[in-house]
């Protein structure tokens, strides 16, 4: 027999309509990391991102409870998009408040890394990961949204195009541009040497 955790999103939503509280919890657990990471990559603040996670799922609940939900097969995409939009709203509100910056004009709290403990061994790996996160946070909104929908919501370009109402070629162009922008923050590909020519 299929367990509840193995149920599809549509099956869980159907159970929720039959007042099954647990179904909603499974949906939250299924998508919370993607919703949270999406928000983190925009706001770069753990507490603000957690608030966005709450707001995203409460909006989702509201829409379900009022029987207005229509994205049954695209729940991941729907949630990632809400989270991204809420995060952008947050950044816009924040931009009206003063931020303490260093001489390079960067937020001083990004350097202090408050609340984050990393071991020395993980330092380089973490530093590179942080650089990639920072680079994603600096992408133009539309490029970042396509990136999230493609990789966090696992959508194909045809689906992204239908979901966002943006021409498929434009979606592909935005993604191409995102890959190019992020290229320098990716690990270089390991070179494979011919062992006959370069013996170790």
């Amino acid at each position: 027999m299929k367990t509840k955790h193995a149920s599809t999103d549509s099956e869980l939503i159907e159970s929720f309509f039959n007042e099954d509280f647990k179904s909603f919890e499974i949906l939250v657990k299924r998508y919370q990391s993607r919703v949270y990471t999406t928000a983190m990559l925009v706001v770069r603040d753990r507490y603000a991102a957690e608030d966005i996670v709450q707001d995203t799922f409460l909006k989702f609940y509201q829409v379900l409870a009022e029987n207005r939900y229509v994205h049954h097969e695209k729940t991941g995409a729907y949630l990632v998009r809400i989270s991204h939009n809420l995060a952008i709203d947050h950044v816009r509100r924040q931009s009206r408040n003063p931020i303490i910056t260093n001489v390079d004009g960067k937020n001083i709290f990004d350097f202090l890394n408050i609340g984050k403990e990393i071991s020395f061994d993980d330092f380089d790996k973490d530093k590179r990961k942080e650089q990639l996160k920072w680079a994603i946070s600096q992408l133009p909104e539309r490029e970042r949204e396509i990136l999230m929908l493609r990789y966090f919501a696992g959508m194909k370009f045809k689906e992204i195009s239908e979901f966002t109402d943006v021409n498929m070629n434009t979606c592909l162009g935005l993604m191409r541009s995102a890959v190019k922008h992020l290229k320098k923050y990716l690990l270089p590909k390991e070179k494979v040497y011919d062992k006959n020519l370069y013996p170790t």
Binding site: K29, Y36, E50, V53, K156, R176, K183, L187
Partner: protein, 80 residues
């Protein structure tokens, strides 16, 4: 008939949206194009690194969400 592949085709191949025949042909000609091969490597790398970026929120947001939902469901039930 010839087919010129672009970076868009690389992205479509990655998401499984390129017809099977074209996909195989693209794979075979990639070593001949430094530009396309390099773009394919970056796209593949980005895909795997994006998966590694996923992180979990603390337990509090989940507790808050579920507490609200439970309470709201009860209120809605009473209203009916």
């Amino acid at each position: 008939m010839t087919k010129t592949f672009t970076q868009h085709d690389i992205l479509k191949a990655q998401s499984g949206e390129l017809p099977a025949g074209e996909q195989a042909f693209l794979e075979s000609i990639l070593p001949e194009s430094i530009e396309l091969e390099s773009f394919r490597d970056s796209a593949e790398q980005l895909k795997s690194e994006m998966e590694n970026l996923l992180c979990e929120p603390g337990v509090k947001p989940l507790e808050n969400i579920m507490a609200f939902v439970k309470k709201d469901m009860e209120i809605r039930r009473l209203r009916v």
